[in-house]
């Protein structure tokens, strides 16, 4: 893994190796994340694309070690952030040294990601206060103003003592971003940060994240279900289906030359602006029940190219081209 050939810019800030996070329920176990491996380099954006329930959010929470308790638990794997395996750390160290400082998160819904009863200054300031980076009221205030300015909040001095409900949706997402970047983490996880925003605002946030990344060189995991957004922001894309990564590669490759039938189907089934009035491809069937996933390829039941082997054996991750891997028996065959 160290000699990862795809490492484009900088060193990997995150390496995830065979991560398995399961949700344990009385009636069975949901294998929400079931053997996921990928890495993120500094200054790079990795898109984690997939439908709801494909395990992308659970992957990101596993990295932060914030999987919902009790119930969800990371059962195996390795998560290295900046060379530290966070799965070995105790909770106290996670709080003190990792979360916020090494890795942080921008959560999905700007309307619910801010605590309604504390002021913006208070909430953004928490990142400084609890990491002992900045001491004293006025110093923290100043730091907050600075970081709010970095996320392009107009006249942050005046809006510091406002409460979240006094901010618009887009502004709130900027505040959340400010909280995430406050302590200059090396890795940032953005979990569908724009899917609840209107397109005109989405554009603003995407641009902001790009700019922040350029300024700080932070590694970014961008989780989305929208192929368009992924194409817009990501350097590399990992496509998840039913708890596993089915395809991973450069963004150009994935969109131009998708190798996994799921990726292909997904791209064919969404309407593209400018390509009007063509009949869309529709992926038949429904995603599998994650409590009883099929033993073979999880996409087998919906795949137009399904073979007998697909139903019995899970296809290994196969290199299609350098830096482009897909988990499909077809790839192995043709490639």
């Amino acid at each position: 893994m160290n000699a990862d050939p795809q490492a484009k810019a900088g060193q990997p800030v995150l390496k995830v190796d065979d991560l398995r996070t399961h949700i344990f329920l009385k009636r069975g176990t949901v294998q929400a994340v079931d053997g996921v491996s990928f890495h993120v380099n500094a200054g790079e954006t990795l898109g984690l694309v997939g439908e709801s329930g494909s395990g992308k959010s659970m992957t990101s929470l596993s990295i932060l070690r914030l999987t919902p308790k009790p119930g969800a638990r990371t059962v195996s794997g390795r998560i290295e952030i900046d060379g530290i395996n966070v799965l070995d750390l105790d909770e106290e160290t996670m709080v003190r040294d990792i979360r916020g400082k090494l890795v942080s998160m921008i959560s999905q819904d700007p309307m619910t990601s801010l605590n309604p009863v504390f002021s913006i200054g208070d909430q953004v300031g928490a990142a400084f206060r609890y990491h002992d980076l900045v001491q004293g009221r006025s110093a923290i205030r100043e730091a907050v103003v600075n970081v709010l300015r970095r996320v392009r909040i107009p006249s942050p001095e005046r809006r510091l003592d406002d409460f979240p409900h006094q901010y618009s949706g887009g502004m709130r997402q900027r505040v959340v971003s400010a909280m995430a970047i406050a302590c200059s983490p090396k890795l940032m996880i953005a979990d569908e940060p724009t899917s609840n925003l209107d397109v005109t605002i989405q554009v603003q946030i995407i641009r902001l994240l790009r700019e922040i990344q350029k300024e700080t060189g932070v590694g970014l995991i961008f989780i989305t279900h929208d192929m368009g957004v992924a194409a817009n922001i990501c350097d590399r894309v990992a496509v998840m289906y039913a708890g596993r990564i089915v395809e991973i590669g450069d963004v150009e490759t994935i969109f131009a030359n998708p190798s996994h039938p799921y990726t292909q189907g997904l791209l064919d089934s969404i309407p593209h602006l400018g390509r009007r009035r063509e009949r869309l491809y529709s992926i038949p069937g429904n995603p599998p029940d994650m409590q009883n996933p099929p033993s073979g390829c999880r996409f087998a039941a919906r795949c137009p190219h399904v073979m007998d082997k697909c139903r019995s054996e899970y296809p290994p991750e196969t290199t299609v081209a350098p830096g482009h891997m897909a988990a499909c028996w077809l790839v192995g065959k043709s490639g």
Partner: protein
């Protein structure tokens, strides 16, 4: 906020007038004169008394007279004490308020740690213990708790005074008897609110930037749970008042509850009326305060 306040006060006034009309109407279903005279009183004496009390008038007229006088602060004389009923109640009000307040404090003192820790350590032994302990309070009539406390703590052990209102000691047992009941509901509400808050995006966000658990729980989350908790306090205040009627009797607590209970047995309607009306007024006022506190507790409402 001001509009809202005016609206709430108006609503409160409507409630109180409505309550007074209902209580008045019910009270007039019975004729209390026999209880107010010696057993060998002559029919003329009964008639004389009925006239003096105004009970011979049509009920609507009686109510309008009552309402008119009440607006001038005259709630009539107690039949039995022949003193202004309002004064009798007002004299006793502080004791009742003290008891209700103590009951709420006791309930909160248990419910807050129970609710918060149950949510944090959900499904643990503590969660189960807190649930059981709280539920026990909800499963026992407060008078029974009171009697058992008197029997064991006062009579057998001699630790606390069994009656009266003298100092903090005498407040403990009535407060327990009164305050235990709502603990379960408050704990459950807090636990479930805390669970929701602890599962919420903003708490996850706070954790994600490295805010320590104790801060998340005791500052971020608890503060979010404050509004539902205070709302509940407002509603349970009525429960405390209701409970006080019984607990005061058991512990010989000199509050208005006991007086009102006796007024019922004596069919002392003016006193009963004022007592019940004051409970209603207290309830309305407390809930108005609760509504006002939302503004303090929740900035969204403050700026509305």
């Amino acid at each position: 906020m001001l509009n809202y306040l005016i609206k709430r006060i108006l609503q409160g006034v409507i409630s109180i007038i409505g309550a007074s009309a209902i209580i008045f109407a019910i009270s007039r279903l019975d004729d209390p004169t026999l209880l107010l005279l010696p057993i060998d009183a002559t029919p003329e004496m009964v008639e004389n008394l009925r006239q003096r009390l105004g009970l011979d008038l049509p009920i609507v007229q009686q109510y309008l007279i009552f309402l008119g006088n009440a607006l001038q602060g005259d709630f009539g004389n107690s039949y039995r004490w022949e003193q202004p009923a309002l004064q009798l109640i007002l004299d006793r009000l502080p004791a009742t308020l003290e008891l209700a307040f103590a009951g709420l404090v006791f309930a909160l003192a248990l419910a807050i740690p129970f609710g918060v820790l149950s949510a944090v350590y959900r499904d643990s032994w503590f969660d189960n213990f807190a649930k059981l302990f709280a539920m026990l309070g909800q499963a026992m009539p407060n008078f029974w708790v009171g009697l058992l406390l008197i029997l064991f703590v006062s009579v057998n052990l001699g630790w606390l005074p069994a009656f009266g209102r003298e100092g903090f000691d005498s407040l403990i047992m009535p407060a327990i008897a009164l305050g235990w009941y709502p603990v379960a509901a408050m704990t459950r509400m807090l636990r479930s609110t805390m669970l929701d808050v602890l599962d919420s995006d903003h708490v996850r966000m706070a954790r994600a930037i490295g805010v320590p658990n104790r801060v998340v729980v005791w500052k971020y989350a608890l503060r979010n749970a404050a509004v539902p908790l205070v709302t509940m306090l407002g509603i349970y205040f009525a429960n405390m008042l209701s409970g006080a009627f019984v607990v005061e009797v058991i512990f010989a607590w000199p509050g208005m509850g006991r007086m009102v209970v006796e007024a019922m047995f004596a069919r002392d309607f003016p006193l009963l009326q004022v007592g019940v009306l004051f409970s209603a007024i207290l309830f309305v006022v407390v809930n108005l305060l609760v509504d006002l506190s939302y503004g303090v507790l929740d900035p969204r409402i403050r700026h509305d």
